[in-house]
């Protein structure tokens, strides 16, 4: 059998980075070819080049032995390459049919008036072929579940009768049951001889659907292998390019005294129910769980962003239940949100401003601020945290992900924070910078700070935590000490509860 897609020696450069360096890739009809690699390895760049969203500097892409050079996703679409993106492209107040045929609606001849009946029939037909006939195609998709929306995305991709579908982290927003029915759809697509490029780093999924796996690292092609050829650990070593033991370094220290105690808290939306945990000084405590298990919601509750329905929170032995963020920050609590660029930083403001954002009142108690003093303080943090920037006057968005995260950390340190919640601290950061963040977290713990770390990366949470709580469906499903860490056990608790 001939491959339907061949990629040869593809190179794509962004200012300062080779995002893809001489990468090769191929795909057969009816095959699921998984693209793996750490964040920043080039998975998304490669799929975007195939889709025509990026134009490579050099290299060739062959579709059915014809050389192609797509300038836009629309051209790729017209040639039978569809994509299902990580973020849904649904328009919330349009229904399933309107979304599936968006910008390609069947119209009455010579008009722009949509033939609703025909569109509904075709949409239902498409969904029936995907075994999703129970999706209401007349309801605005906003009122449908995420999984149903995901199915509509797939129906949208299939509606152009594609030869290739690219899935970019499609299960990130799905629950386990939804993931299962999603995999059934993938198998149906395979039967229809559609070639599937599957971008993911969730290793447990590979066994269910993967045929071959291509590993990318730092923009370079590493290896293509059959599914099951290597163990998960060997695969991780291929992805990371070094032994995991070297990445996660923890200095032994003593954990003296309770810093944060959470007792039986619940939120009003029902995302967190009756959860308790303790973080001691000098400790890094992991909070593991699947996306949607309620970890971020728990962090928001602790930080006073969302209102408690019940339960108590103590900071250094003092009850702070029901207090808002501004009070808690004064008491030494800090929060590094998952979405660094939206919530953690003012990306268009200078680094120095970002570093002083929380501690302004501490640095300048007398109403007036001094830019030079602000810069001086920021300079100290730039030096001590090794933030790579020519000047603290640069905008935060000019920094790389890792350095941005350091600025967020500096922001809390400057406010004398001693209990810090890290939500996905290394998301979107390349391997080298990750190691620096880990080293920094280790240093903070040794200095006696208490850290609660939310992470979806199993290796990271195992590598960095002293203890770990595992969340499942809004509740704490388990609590494990470092000596008893085992990926299988943790994974089981994440999936099934205790």
């Amino acid at each position: 059998m001939e491959p339907i897609l061949k990629v040869k020696n593809l190179t794509k450069e962004f200012p300062g980075v080779k995002a893809l360096d001489n990468v090769q890739f191929d795909l057969f009809p009816g095959e699921v070819h998984i693209l793996v690699g750490e964040n920043g390895a080039g998975k998304s760049t490669l799929s975007k080049c195939i889709l025509g969203a990026y134009q490579p500097e050099s290299g060739e892409i062959y579709l059915e032995d014809k050389k192609v050079d797509f300038k836009t996703p629309k051209e790729a679409l017209a040639n039978g390459i569809a994509a299902v993106y990580q973020e849904l492209t649904m328009i919330p107040y349009l229904n399933a049919a309107q979304n599936i045929f968006f910008n390609r609606e069947p119209v009455y001849k010579g008009t722009n008036i949509i033939n609703q009946k025909l569109m509904q029939t075709q949409a239902k037909e498409l969904l029936r072929n995907l075994n999703c006939e129970n999706i209401d195609t007349t309801k605005p998709v906003k009122y449908l579940g995420v999984a149903e929306q995901q199915m509509i995305e797939i129906a949208k991709a299939i509606s152009i009768d594609p030869k290739i579908i690219i899935f970019d982290e499609p299960t990130a927003t799905l629950s386990d049951r939804e993931v299962e029915s999603f995999f059934e759809q993938i198998h149906l697509l395979k039967k229809r001889n559609i070639g599937i490029i599957y971008v993911s780093h969730r290793m447990k999924e590979f066994h269910h659907i993967g045929d071959r796996i291509t590993v990318l690292r730092d923009g370079k092609y590493i290896k293509t292998l059959r599914e099951g050829e290597l163990s998960d650990e060997e695969l991780v070593n291929l992805m990371v390019g070094r032994d995991i033991a070297q990445v996660y370094v923890r200095t032994p220290n003593d954990h003296s005294g309770e810093a944060l105690r959470v007792e039986n808290i619940s939120d009003r939306a029902g995302k967190v129910e009756d959860c308790s945990l303790v973080v001691n000084k000098g400790e890094i405590v992991g909070l593991a769980g699947l996306v949607g298990a309620g970890r971020t919601e728990m962090a928001r509750l602790i930080f006073g962003i969302d209102k408690l329905k019940g339960g108590k929170i103590y900071l250094h032995g003092k009850e702070v239940s029901g207090k808002g963020p501004s009070f808690l920050v004064n008491e030494g609590l800090g929060f590094l949100p998952e979405d660094r660029k939206q919530l953690g930083l003012a990306v268009r403001a200078p680094i120095s401003w970002n570093i002083a954002a929380v501690s302004l009142k501490k640095i300048f108690p007398h109403f007036f601020v001094s830019q030079s003093k602000n810069d001086e303080i920021a300079d100290e943090y730039v030096k001590s945290l090794k933030i790579a920037t020519p000047s603290v006057k640069k905008m935060a968005r000019a920094l790389s992900g890792g350095n941005q995260q350091k600025v967020v950390i500096a922001k809390w340190l400057s406010a004398n924070t001693d209990v810090i919640i890290f939500d996905e601290p290394t998301r979107g950061i390349d391997v080298g910078a990750k190691m620096e963040i880990y080293a920094l977290m280790d240093r903070l713990a040794s200095e006696g700070k208490a850290i609660l770390m939310i992470s979806s990366e199993m290796q990271e949470i195992i590598g960095m935590s002293d203890r770990m709580y595992i969340m499942n469906n809004g509740s704490i499903a388990g609590h494990i000490e470092r000596e008893e860490f085992a990926a299988e056990k943790i994974g089981q608790m994440m999936l099934l509860g205790s």
């Binding site: 836009t72 996703p73 629309k74 679409l77 994509a83 993106y85 973020e87 492209t89 649904m90 328009i91 919330p92 107040y93 349009l94 309107q98 968006f102 910008n103 390609r104 609606e105 119209v107 008009t111 722009n112 008036i113 949509i114 609703q116 309801k139 605005p140 906003k142 009122y143 009003r268």
Partner: protein, 313 residues
């Protein structure tokens, strides 16, 4: 099924309007007469047309602050043309074309400059207003023609023609938003503009189209208003853009996610007009009217937001 009820629900503006009418019914003698209802409807006609256009702009997460000024320019320009001896049919076409051009100017600056509609139209509002003042030398212009009375006063099935024209504009806008490919894109622009790009549709072109549509609607609104007051007044459109925004928001259209549509706007318009006409009938001095309108609109929006929050809990 519970979800279904959520999005089929009638906008609260309708209930609030009925409550208002009850209050007025008690306070004013002969409030519930056919004549009074016809009066309210014919006063509401220009606002309805303008609010139809404004609905599109709100759907794409903006507000067009220049619509009132477009109404003013149009009403002045129309009378100027008629006074110059331009035939009636031609003058109407020229006027509507010019309102399309005003919309085009807004749209091109917003779309190509990637600027917030609020700021762009705040600027053009003043420019268009000056054009209106220049055209008439700051005077109210008069012209006498039977068509004014015909449109504003003569009735078909009990309602003046102006009301029917407004209803026609409403129906057309409803069809455009719900049944055409363009309508899908407007909903998409507010809901998830990324989806437009990925589907190969142009964000800027559809934004421009929406502004042109809003401009033409303001043009028609200006013609209707002109017929009612039988003159061209450079201040006739003052504040209409805000009333239109209030009506659209009260009608349940959201500045986020592309929620809502012109179906709710009509209730918002009626609410605004019932409120306004009633205050005059009650005999309240115009000094207090604005304050009362402001308070009621604010209260209505707070009430609406409160209801929404309740639903989301």
């Amino acid at each position: 099924m519970k979800n279904k009820e959520k999005y089929l629900k009638v906008p609260p503006a309708l209930y609030m309007m009925l409550a208002l009418m009850l209050i007025y019914g008690i306070l004013v003698d002969n409030y519930f007469t056919a004549q009074n209802m016809v009066n309210i409807a014919s006063q509401a006609a220009p606002l309805l047309v303008i609010a139809c256009g404004q609905t599109l702009i709100v759907l794409l997460q903006g507000t067009d602050l220049s619509l009132g000024s477009i109404v003013s320019v149009v009403s002045v320009l129309w009378i100027v043309l008629l006074n110059l001896g331009v035939p009636m049919w031609l003058s109407m076409i020229v006027v509507l074309l010019s309102s399309a051009v005003f919309g085009l100017i807004n749209g091109v600056i917003v779309a190509k400059g990637m600027l917030p509609a609020f700021i762009v139209t705040l600027g053009t509002q003043n420019i268009f207003k000056s054009v209106a003042l220049l055209l008439c030398n700051s005077q109210t212009l008069y012209f006498s023609h039977s068509i004014f009375r015909t449109i504003a006063k003569e009735k078909l099935l009990g309602m003046p023609y102006s009301v029917w024209i407004a209803i026609l504009c409403f129906i057309i806008t409803w069809i455009v938003l719900r049944k055409t490919t363009f309508g899908m894109k407007i909903t998409g622009l507010g809901g998830n503009s990324e989806a437009l790009t990925l589907a190969g549709a142009s964000i800027s072109r559809n934004t421009i189209k929406a502004f042109v549509y809003a401009g033409v609607m303001a043009g028609i609104g200006g013609l209707l208003l002109c017929c009612r007051i039988e003159s061209g007044n450079p201040n006739s459109g003052n504040g209409l853009e805000f009333n239109a925004i209030a009506a659209v928001l009260l009608g349940g259209t959201s500045m986020r996610e592309g929620r809502g549509g012109v179906g709710g706007t009509i209730f918002g318009v009626l609410f605004m007009q019932v409120l306004k006409s009633g205050l005059t009938q009650v005999g309240l001095s115009s000094i207090y009217q604005n304050a009362i309108i402001g308070i009621v609109v604010l209260a209505a929006i707070i009430f609406d937001a409160f209801l929404k929050k309740q639903q989301e809990m």
